[in-house]
């Protein structure tokens, strides 16, 4: 194909989102100390949770970010020195995991009580809390099994026949999704109270899958892996598991968040590198292209949560040598340098794509 034609098509594709759809403003949420940060969830109040420390897990502290108070260190369980905050509900209850004097434990944090350690399943001595819904039900794992906390009690959600499972998300109906060992390998599961854990399968030809999030409508997103690589999926009760398309040139994609409007956020590889993406209306868009005010040298590489107002939390890198319109040089640290976290706010007047 003639190169000029390719260029024109590419240029047209790049221009379309601005011309037709949603655009966002970008807020750099900072870090607890000079270093790095990751972000995991945003609630409908626009409160954000994640973790911040040195890159690569050193000195990592769970944080809560609010527009008013900025980034706040949530600390550790007693005896620990590593914590991450993974989810927040609209009541401002935060869950996550912290090392303690005897290993990793799930925690619940509220502004009134601070960190409280969640109980483990019988016979287990570790846990991790990945998600919390509006009624305070917490999903996570304990001793290698998916677990559901309700108040002070914890329930074993079982597996798909294998030894191991882990719950990643819970919706306001109490449906839980995650990953569990099935005979064919680790598979995404859907658990509904009163029913057996359901194997959501994997994309055609793939051997394993994992579910990362579930909307209140029961739509599930995650990733499926096989010889074609890791591919984002969406599962619906009517349409089963379908792949979400990748950016051009990408062989890796994963969906991390879905809101009740069916908008999905995640990561996709591309010919320019890994990018934070939004799947909406059957198309995929590089979120970097939806931010008119994206500062030079800032590239968003992953988006993890989107609320029903369309606010998105994402992480990325800041390096003056980078340019979102070209692939990074090997000498640069796009690969694994410090990461920063951002809040993407839909611009007034722009329309949802």
């Amino acid at each position: 194909m003639n190169r000029k034609i390719v260029f024109l098509i590419t240029a047209a594709l790049l221009l379309v989102p601005f011309a037709l759809g949603q655009s966002y403003t970008l807020t750099d949420l900072g870090t607890l100390r000079p270093g790095s940060a990751r972000v995991h969830d945003i609630n409908s109040q626009g409160q954000v949770v994640g973790a911040s420390g040195h890159p690569h897990g050193s000195d990592t502290h769970a944080f809560l970010w609010t527009k008013k108070g900025g980034m706040r260190d949530l600390g550790f369980l007693p005896g620990g020195n590593y914590s991450i905050a993974l989810a927040i509900n609209d009541a401002g209850q935060v869950v996550g995991a912290s090392n303690s004097k005897d290993g990793m434990h799930g925690f619940l944090w509220t502004s009134a009580t601070g960190l409280t350690q969640l109980p483990t399943l019988s016979g287990a001595d570790a846990s991790s809390a990945y998600a919390i819904n509006q009624s305070g039900l917490i999903a996570g794992s304990s001793g290698g099994h998916a677990a559901l906390w309700n108040g002070g009690s914890v329930k074993d959600l079982g597996t798909l026949g294998g030894a191991w499972s882990e719950a990643h998300a819970i919706n306001n109906s109490g449906q839980v999704v995650g990953v569990a060992d099935a005979p064919a390998g680790p598979h995404a599961f859907l658990w509904t109270d009163g029913a057996a854990m359901k194997d959501l399968g994997a994309l055609s030809g793939d051997s394993s899958s994992r579910a990362n999030h579930i909307s209140d409508h029961g739509d599930v997103v995650g990733a499926s892996e096989g010889v074609e690589g890791v591919r984002a999926f969406i599962w619906t009760s009517s349409g089963a598991m379908q792949p979400l398309i990748s950016l051009q040139g990408g062989t890796y994609s994963e969906a991390f968040g879905i809101n009740n409007l069916g908008q999905v956020v995640g990561q996709s590889g591309s010919s320019l590198g890994t990018r934070a993406v939004l799947w909406s209306g059957g198309s995929v868009t590089d979120l970097n292209d939806l931010i008119p005010g994206l500062p030079a040298g800032t590239i968003l590489t992953g988006a993890f949560s989107i609320n029903d107002q369309g606010l998105i939390v994402a992480f990325g890198v800041i390096n003056p040598r980078l340019n979102k319109n070209r692939a990074a040089n090997m000498d640069d640290h796009l690969h694994s340098g410090p990461t920063r976290v951002f809040l993407l706010t839909p611009e007034a007047g722009s329309t949802a794509p």
């Binding site: 973790a51 420390g53 050193s58 590593y82 290993g103 990793m104 191991w164 890796y252 993890f304 694994s336």
Partner: protein, 1120 residues
């Protein structure tokens, strides 16, 4: 900087010359020396030593997908078998068997594969093992005491973050064991070591130090906090002696602190050692053979990987003093993604780096400039725990230290495999007896570089030895000692390492339990010069040593004669002396040639004769006539008569002894000839007579007479009585039936029976009882009452099943039983079901054998005992494969690699090869040579035989691919039309969009050079796949010059100052010295911001920043 200043001042104390810096730098004996920077095909980001000393490395995934191997001896590279997925960002270690275990890998940044893979360097294969629980990106792998592999940490993906579940890969079963009770969030690439207590210490970067108990479902316990309270991320930890760990630098901002912990102490605690001269992060630490720790590279700047603050000087930490000493500078920044490892020759490889790291520099430590190196002449290839092994060295007297280091496997500043350990040793003839560590907690199984160091601290070149879990391995050596004429030499003393033997009369000798590997065998014999040979000892098999030919010292000759007692010549008598032997001719004459001068004892011997000896003195160059040696027979004759009491001959009487039986003739005469000299016992017997026994002394060469007189036997009938008992319980058996001929009696309540009126002479009586096996016994009846007791045994059945190693029944296998309360031996063969059944046999313990397989079985009363003998698959033995490799047109191909299993050979100039010690059976042989399609064939190898396998290789049709990409200005990102891109002799120009395309490029890793007018040329490397298009974009930089001028305080030119210029849009480092006019000019370098550093002995080092602009010369002036 203050400390560095004092270092320079220290130098000036010793070298008060005009060229202080140069003189100081020149002290290789105290400072060692760096090589120049060598270009490498890619960045060595994951660097692992293979058991043969070659270096396996994995690169940036965007740079090259396939791992590569660097051979430090030939300085060549060869890509390995490709992995099915990207191994970049994995954790890796050298396994107990020398394969490379690689856990996790790169799906995307922060997203890891759950896969794990094993690279087998012996077969050049990649084999995936079952997946881990979840993905791991930046995990740490640790070989445990039993050879299993612990894997911890690593990111699952950007959302789930770190994998908190430690898992153990169980090598034997190829399964994972999850430590579900030990879940913990750890930093990426944590520092983990097996500790002397068998637990695994988590020694960084976290400030709190933990032990992980990997048994069961795992458990963490806390040891305590480090002294430096921050997280030492990207600061290395090394085990510089068993149980002793040094954590050095790291953190953000970087720290210069370093601290140690001794896990062998009663209460281990971290203690600060002295600080490094520079704060560092992203540096590497390498333990050297002398136990010192060498620190290379890193950045002193804040942030993740600040290449604008490179730390170029290196440092050496001495565990004896806790002090760091500054050592020579590296030439380029080695930061994030750089690696450094010790090489078997004692040098240090420093390679890789994210920023412009496709190159390497090699450091020769000071000990390589401190005199002659001790040498290891022999070492076993494999050793076991607690063994004392012999390390051959001609330098044993000067050895002051023996140490070994597990082969390294380094990435992201941490060596997941290596550790240092000194070994205890003692002098042993021709070398050292070295004591191996007691267990795997002290030294996990695997390959170790063993060094011997002399009192000057100079290490040998290492021998790489496998510390095997199940005890090392030894082999057997056989050979022959001869003189230089090929005559066998007896009584030679033969030694190899700590083992010795004496040659037999035919010159042969055998050594058992020789350490596998290369052995030197030395034979010595009085009057001869010693001789040695080298041989490879193969574990578990017997190897032949080339004939050891001893040259006599100042030889002469001996002639002589051997005669019998009558003075007649003795033919074929054997004469030995001085280890030589000769045979007499028909005239009884013999000659021994090349006999060492001196006194020689000659020993003559002949069949049937007693040996005799003579001593003669041999003088150099003369033939001495030895006195005749007389041999007398060593046997005699015995004769005599057998007579009755009336002196009448008893014809037909027999006379016997252990060596035979003779029958008396009609005169009663018997005779034996050739009876060995000495005392024998003769028994004469005849029917109707009582036997007589007589001891007779036989004299060599004589006839001894022994006559017998036999009394008539009393053949009157008599009674036989006795008791019948149970052999096991000794209880009496009443009611037993005792039978002679047709007469039957029963034993009474005391077990006693009496048979009256039994005929005279030898009679057979049989006892039987219900539940017992019948038993017959003989008794001599000669009037009166004779006693015959019976001990009966109850019975059971022994069923023996013979199966092969796969558990299948073996038909027709021979089975032997022997044992039982009443000695019983049975043999038989198994049926189609593999069964042999004994029928009823006495109870008791039996030895049951079938071929070489034996077992013990106990038969009990009334029961059937079943045992199974499993035939061993057995050692199949080993044979040799030989042949030639040619091209399909018949041209001999040299340098082709031919291998079968782990046996590898390279073809000679004539295309020939030999693979020795190939396991017998059906084996696959592969011949491979670059440019040809590999050939494989299946051959049948027979033990101790040679099989031929010839190959005709077809040239490979080299598949070609295409490279395309754009050439841009690195500063503006603008495209460069008309730029030239070269590959080999091909050159193309970029089009108006700056895009070039080169077709027909050979597949594999290829380097292109882009150049454009006004820009600095730049190389790029890309992997080309046949039939596909690869993309390689090369940004170019315009250039400028930095001109540095140094003057002293009075404004005079300052020559000889060292100038380092570092920075640029394309990271560049140049160094040089100011000229006589005080000027150093950089030549053209990429534009951009630079740091210019100038140093000179006795002066404070100064730095300035400078900006290089296109086509401009930027002046930077310094005043000392």
């Amino acid at each position: 900087m203050v400390v560095r200043h004092s270092f320079l001042r220290l130098c000036s104390l010793f070298f008060v010359t005009a060229f202080l810096a140069t003189a100081c730098q020149g002290q290789a004996s105290s400072q060692g020396q760096w090589s120049s920077v060598q270009a490498w095909p890619t960045r060595a980001i994951h660097t692992t030593m293979l058991p043969d000393g070659r270096v396996f490395f994995i690169s940036y995934y965007g740079e090259s997908f396939d791992p590569n191997i660097w051979d430090p001896v030939s300085n060549t590279f060869s890509p390995t078998t490709a992995s099915a997925y990207a191994l970049f960002c994995a954790g890796h270690t050298s396994m107990a068997d020398g394969r490379v275990f690689i856990a996790g890998g790169h799906i995307a940044d922060y997203t890891g594969y759950a896969h794990a893979e094993i690279y087998d360097p012996f077969k050049n294969t990649m084999t995936q093992v079952p997946d881990m629980n979840e993905g791991r990106w930046y995990p740490t792998t640790t070989v445990l005491a039993n050879g299993d592999i612990l894997v911890v940490s690593g990111d699952v993906n950007s959302n789930t973050v770190v994998n908190p579940l430690p898992q153990v890969y169980q090598v034997a079963s190829n399964t994972w064991r999850s430590l579900t009770s030990a879940q913990l969030m750890q930093a990426l690439y944590p520092v983990m070591f097996v500790a002397p207590n068998g637990k695994v210490i988590y020694a960084g970067p976290e400030p709190l130090t933990h032990y992980l108990d990997t048994t069961g479902t795992g458990a963490w316990t806390n040891i305590g906090n480090r002294q430096f309270s921050g997280w030492r991320d990207y600061g290395p930890g090394v085990m510089y002696e068993t149980g002793k760990i040094l954590d050095v630098g790291g953190s953000d901002p970087p720290t210069a602190t370093a601290e140690t912990i001794d896990l062998t102490a009663a209460t281990p605690a971290w203690t600060l050692t002295s600080n490094m001269h520079f704060a560092r992060r992203q540096h590497n630490a390498v333990v050297l053979p002398d136990g010192k720790v060498f620190i290379i590279g890193g950045s002193s700047g804040s942030g993740f990987d600040d290449s604008t603050h490179p730390v170029l000087p290196t440092e050496m930490w001495d565990p004896a003093t806790g002090q760091f000493t500054l050592m020579p500078s590296i030439a380029v920044y080695r930061g994030y993604h750089s690696t450094a490892i010790l090489l078997p020759d004692g040098r240090v490889l420093s390679a890789g780096g994210n920023v412009g790291g496709a190159n390497a520099q090699i450091y020769s430590p000071p000990y390589l400039f401190a005199g002659a190196r001790p040498a290891i002449s022999s070492a076993p290839t494999s050793v076991g725990y607690g063994q004392n092994v012999f390390i051959g060295t001609p330098d044993s007297a000067s050895i002051a230290k023996v140490a070994w280091l597990r082969v390294p496997s380094t990435t992201h500043t941490f060596d997941e495999s290596g550790r240092y350990m000194h070994l205890n040793y003692a002098q042993a003839g021709g070398g050292l007896s070295v004591t191996m560590p007691a267990n795997g907690n002290l030294a996990p199984p695997g390959y170790y570089m063993l060094f011997i160091l002399n009192s000057a601290g100079v290490p040998s070149i290492a021998k790489i030895i496998n510390l095997a879990q199940n005890g090392g391995s030894t082999g057997t050596l056989t050979g022959v000692v001869t003189n230089t004429s090929g005559s066998p030499l007896a009584n030679a003393s033969v030694a190899s390492g700590g083992v010795s033997a004496t040659s037999a009369p035919d010159g042969t000798y055998t050594f058992n339990n020789v350490n596998a590997g290369t052995a030197t065998v030395t034979a010595s014999l009085s009057g001869y010069n010693s001789a040695s040979a080298q041989v490879t000892v193969t574990a578990g098999s017997s190897d032949n040593v080339p004939a050891l030919q001893l040259a006599p010292i100042s030889p002469g000759n001996i002639t002589g004669k051997v005669v019998d007692g009558a003075g007649n010549p003795l033919q074929s008598a054997n004469v030995t002396g001085a280890g030589l032997s000769a045979s007499t001719d028909a005239n009884g004459n013999y000659t021994l040639n090349n006999v060492p001068a001196g006194s020689v004892t000659l020993v003559a011997s002949a069949a049937g004769d007693s040996p005799a000896s003579e001593t003669v003195t041999v003088t150099a160059g003369n033939t001495v006539a030895a006195p005749a040696i007389t041999l007398t027979s060593n046997s005699g004759n015995v004769t005599g008569k057998v007579l009755d009491s009336s002196s009448n001959p008893i014809a037909g009487a027999t006379v016997s002894f252990g060596g035979g039986t003779a029958t008396a003739d009609s005169t009663g005469t018997y005779s034996f000839t050739n009876v060995p000299a000495g005392t024998i016992q003769l028994v004469a017997s005849a029917s109707g007579f009582q036997s007589v026994t007589q001891n007779v002394t036989v004299i060599g060469g004589s006839t001894t007479t022994a006559n017998f007189t036999l009394a008539t036997a009393n053949n009157s009938p008599g009674a036989v009585t006795g008791t019948v008992t149970n052999i096991a319980t000794h209880g009496v058996i009443s009611g037993a039936t005792v039978k002679w001929n047709t007469t039957t009696v029963a034993s009474n309540g005391s077990g006693v029976y009496t048979l009256a009126n039994v005929a005279g002479g030898t009679q057979t009586v049989t006892a039987s009882a219900n539940g017992y096996l019948p038993l017959s016994s003989s008794v001599t009846v000669s009037g009166g009452t004779s006693t015959l007791n019976f001990q009966l045994s109850t019975a059971g059945i022994l069923n023996v099943t013979v199966a092969d190693s796969n558990g299948k029944p073996v038909n027709g296998a021979q089975v032997s039983l022997s044992g039982g309360q009443i000695a019983t031996s049975l043999t038989g063969a198994t049926n189609a079901s593999g069964l042999y059944s004994s029928n009823w046999i006495p109870i008791g313990t039996y030895t049951v054998t079938s071929g070489p397989v034996g077992e013990s079985a106990t038969v009990t009363t009334g029961k059937t005992t079943t045992i199974t003998l499993t035939q061993q698959s057995g050692s199949p033995g080993a044979g040799t494969i030989t042949g030639t490799v040619t091209s399909s047109s018949g041209t001999a191909l040299s340098g082709a690699t031919v291998f079968s299993g782990s046996v590898t050979a390279t073809t000679q100039a004539d295309g020939s090869y030999t693979l020795a010690n190939v396991t017998a059976g059906t084996e696959t042989v592969t011949a491979a040579l670059s440019g040809y399609q590999a050939g494989t064939q299946s051959v049948t190898v027979t033990a101790n035989a040679t099989t031929t396998a010839n190959f005709a290789l077809t040239p490979s049709s080299v598949s070609a691919g295409t490279i395309t990409g754009s050439i841009t200005n690195i500063a503006t990102s603008g495209v460069l039309p008309g730029a030239t891109v070269k590959w080999n002799s091909m050159a193309v120009s970029t089009n108006s969009s700056g895009v070039y395309t080169i077709s027909n490029v050979t597949s594999g890793s290829q380097t292109l050079t882009a150049s454009a007018s006004g820009y600095l040329p730049r190389n790029g490397t890309v992997t080309v796949t046949g039939g596909a298009t690869s993309t390689l974009n090369i940004p170019l930089s315009t250039a400028g010059i930095i001109s540095v001028k140094a003057v002293n305080a009075s404004g005079a030119a300052d020559p000889g100052a060292t100038v380092t210029i570092n920075g640029g849009q394309i990271s560049t480092t140049v160094t040089g010295a100011t000229s006589a006019s005080g000027v150093y000019s950089s030549n053209w370098i990429p534009i951009g911001a630079y740091t210019v550093t100038i140093s000179e002995s006795g002066h404070t080092t100064q730095s300035k920043t400078a900006t290089v602009s296109s086509g401009q010369t930027t002046a930077v002036n310094f005043t000392f």
